[in-house]
């Protein structure tokens, strides 16, 4: 009986969404169903983490036997509960539940709220599916599920043209990147012989392949890796051919990273995330801040030991993450919509996480993912509260003076902002500095870029708070805001507590010393009763110099905040006018010009080919050739007796000639 409980983790939100889709409820009934399923999920997640609910027997969906030439294929629907998935599950269900509760108040007036909660339930189903997937194909299935629910929820107000366009953009970007993901999955399958991501054995064949490891772990020999990580990687030999060519490994790593690029909005594919702010604010909080965009990072951490097999891949991941971080931070400096600023800050923090994975610190990435989930959700929900209070006003230059008028929202927002910046003792400080330490160990350039990004983060977040909340009101709506109802403020408070405390929890509960704290963080949170021999160890990080390396980021943060405070206090318009940043580095325009027009050119070309070559040349051409032959043969019918006689005799003569003389 025990093992069937876990299926409700997936079935409850699925049932809720299907029944809402079938319109079995009144709008309020739909809310009840959806929130109920979310709380059930959360309770089950608590049970999984500490209550001893075990993973159910997987259900084998497709099972194809392998042979000497090709690997077999076994796709099952099952669940895996190790430290990584337990942590992520708690975050997903917990933040999800809080957002559900917040949405009760936020969407209370909207006539389409049943559809909204249906979308949220589909999202919960898909996201928990990603977290507990045992194999990559199952994960891909749920991956597309979150893409679908993101599309439905971004385009929730579909009558608005910008919302519909943004939904399309998100889906297309995701789909494009998922193509790379699929290639990665297939290469993974070829190399590993299975699509399962349950930890696999590092056999002795590993060091036969002599693949160089990234610098971070170069001090460890393969045996030490095996001993420390507890994970094992088996590399398959098929038919005597060694498949571990560096090219294939790199393709696998880059392919898997492709999925992350789309879902977590890394540099070339980041354009959908700011536009996704067209959706309602709870959607932005849940999907585009806390959970869905983190799915990419989660996936990378899930397959992390494999990423080590390709040096180029790992470095590439780190570079992309780093670049995205600073790129987004620069753009955010000049944005004026409160949700856009938060969206770009999400992009920036995702860049941090991906950079952490690339630098050899998946535990740092997961840590930051957790803290980021808390404070970013908090920031978005608080922003939603502000927007709600000001009657749908989103431009920060039309706000102001709200700190006295809606104090609860203000203080929770401030706490979230401090956590985001990385101000000690809030949680963001711990997670961000862990990442910077990893980056420094990998390569100092990443560290300095990270520091610069921290400076910019402090700058624009302080700008946001100062302009939106402090000073005097700049518009009519800002003069008379109303505080949000309790159903909306309770989640804010809970999230604020979590943002503040989640860093300290790890600190107090570990042995002395920062080093042990960092990578025992996961262990201490969950019990180790899972039978799968992965007790949450990740790659060992070398010693860090806690003095200088903690001080520099803190100084950057401090000066950034100070500079911004003095620059923006009591202003009515923005003193900085950097067009390049305000126009988001013209990336959207570039895509429009090159890609969209290129695609339209291609479509036009194909249309031309279809009309002229396929239709004209081949179809009608073929017809005309037949007609032409007919016209030619028609000339044979002269109607003249003597011509007929001539041809007849000519034929006879030729026949006799060729029979008798020519052979």
């Amino acid at each position: 009986m025990d093992q069937y409980i876990a299926w409700f983790l997936l079935l409850a939100p699925l049932a809720a969404s299907v029944t809402i889709l079938l319109r079995l409820y009144s709008p309020n009934g739909a809310i009840f169903a959806s929130v109920g399923s979310a709380s059930l999920c959360f309770l089950i997640a608590l049970g999984i983490a500490w209550g001893g609910i075990v993973a159910p027997t997987p259900w084998m969906w497709i099972s194809l036997p392998g042979s000497n030439e090709s690997p077999g294929l076994e796709i099952e629907i099952g669940m895996i509960f190790d430290a990584l998935s337990k942590g992520m599950l708690l975050i997903v269900t917990g933040v999800g539940l809080l957002v559900h509760i917040f949405s009760i108040g936020y969407m209370a007036q909207d006539p389409g709220r049943a559809r909204f909660f249906g979308g949220l339930s589909i999202f919960m189903f898909s996201m928990t599916g990603i977290v507990v997937s045992t194999n990559l194909i199952e994960m891909f299935f749920f991956w597309e599920g979150v893409g679908l629910s993101s599309y439905l929820l971004i385009g929730f107000w579909f009558t608005k043209e910008s919302a519909a366009a943004a939904a399309n953009k998100a889906f297309v970007c995701n789909r494009l990147a998922d193509f790379g993901f699929m290639i990665g999955i297939l290469t993974y399958w070829i190399l590993m012989g299975t699509v399962s991501v349950k930890p696999i054995d590092l056999s002795n064949s590993y060091h036969q392949n002599a693949v160089s490891l990234p610098r971070v772990v170069s001090i460890l020999t393969p045996e030490e890796i095996a001993a420390h990580t507890g994970t094992a990687i088996s590399v398959r030999h098929i038919g005597g051919v060694n498949l571990t060519s560096p090219l294939l490994l790199t393709i696998m790593v880059l392919g898997l990273f492709g999925g992350c690029v789309g879902k977590s909005a890394m540099f070339p594919f980041h354009v959908w995330l700011p536009d996704a702010m067209e959706g309602p604010t709870p959607v932005s909080a849940l999907i585009h801040a806390a959970t869905m965009v983190a799915a990419g990072v989660y996936m990378l951490c899930r397959v992390y030991p494999l990423l080590l097999l390709s040096t180029f891949g790992l470095e590439f991941i780190a570079c992309i993450g780093c670049f995205t971080a600073i790129f987004a931070a620069l753009i955010a400096v000049q944005q004026n919509d409160i949700k856009r600023i938060l969206a770009y800050s999400t992009l920036s923090q995702l860049g941090y996480m991906v950079m952490a994975v690339g630098c050899g610190g998946p535990d740092a990435a997961m840590f930051h993912l957790t803290t980021h989930a808390f404070f970013k959700a908090l920031l978005f929900l608080a922003a939603g509260s502000v927007i709600h209070a000001l009657h749908e006003e989103q431009d920060i230059w039309k706000m102001g003076g709200l700190d006295k008028k809606i104090p609860l929202t203000y203080w929770t927002f401030l706490l979230g902002m401090l956590a985001l910046i990385g101000c000690p003792p809030f949680s963001g400080f711990f997670s961000k500095d862990y990442i910077l330490a990893d980056a420094h160990a990998f390569h100092p350039a990443f560290y300095w870029v990270g520091v610069a990004t921290a400076f910019l983060t402090a700058f624009y977040m302080t700008r946001l708070v100062v302009v939106a909340f402090l000073g005097s009101a700049r518009s009519k709506a800002a003069e008379h805001p109303h505080e949000s109802p309790l159903v909306m403020t309770i989640p804010l408070i809970i999230l604020a507590v979590l943002s503040v405390g989640s860093g300290l929890w790890g600190f107090w509960s570990s042995d002395s010393g920062m080093k042990n704290f960092y990578h025992n963080w996961a262990i201490n949170l969950f019990s180790d009763t899972d039978p799968i021999p992965n007790n949450g160890h990740f790659i060992t990080v070398p010693e860090i110099n806690t003095g200088i390396e903690l001080g520099i980021p803190f100084a950057a943060v401090f000066f950034g905040a100070l500079l911004s405070y003095y620059l923006y206090l009591d202003r009515t318009t923005d003193p900085l006018h950097i067009r390049l940043l305000a126009r988001k580095f013209y990336v959207d325009e570039l895509y429009q010009r090159r890609l969209v027009r290129g695609q339209q050119l291609l479509a036009g070309l194909l249309n031309w080919i279809d009309a002229w070559i396929l239709d004209g040349l081949i179809l009608r051409g073929g017809a005309y050739i037949s007609v032409g032959f007919g016209e030619v043969f028609r000339l044979f019918q002269t109607g003249s007796l003597q011509t007929y006689a001539f041809i007849f005799t000519l034929g006879g003569v030729l026949l006799i000639y060729f029979t008798l003389f020519a052979h």
Partner: protein, 101 residues
């Protein structure tokens, strides 16, 4: 000189070719038909020459039948030409091109 079988055959072939030229060149239907008859007679000559060459009379019997059938055929053919003339009022083959495309 010795007159051999080949001489007779050559003469018959020449007559045949003359008939062929008549068929292809003349425009009057009657003349064409007459040339056709001449081709038949050339074949008769060939047959008789071969019959004499082989020493038995089967070739001559064949010629007997050919002459008979040729006569019948001429009768029917001329009847056709008369009917055609009644319809078209012409026997010039240039005017009888209804089967032209």
């Amino acid at each position: 000189m010795e007159i051999t079988l080949n001489h007779y055959l050559a003469v018959a072939a020449t007559l045949f070719v003359i008939g062929l030229m008549g068929v292809m060149m003349r425009r009057n239907l009657i003349i064409i038909y007459m040339s056709l008859e001449m081709m038949l007679q050339a074949a008769n000559l060939t047959l008789v020459a071969f019959s004499r060459f082989n020493g038995h009379l089967d070739g001559q019997v064949f010629v007997f039948f050919v002459i008979t059938v040729a006569a019948a055929e001429v009768a029917v053919g001329l009847a056709l030409i008369v009917a055609l003339f009644r319809l078209r009022q012409t026997t010039q083959v240039d005017n009888l091109t209804t089967l032209k495309f």
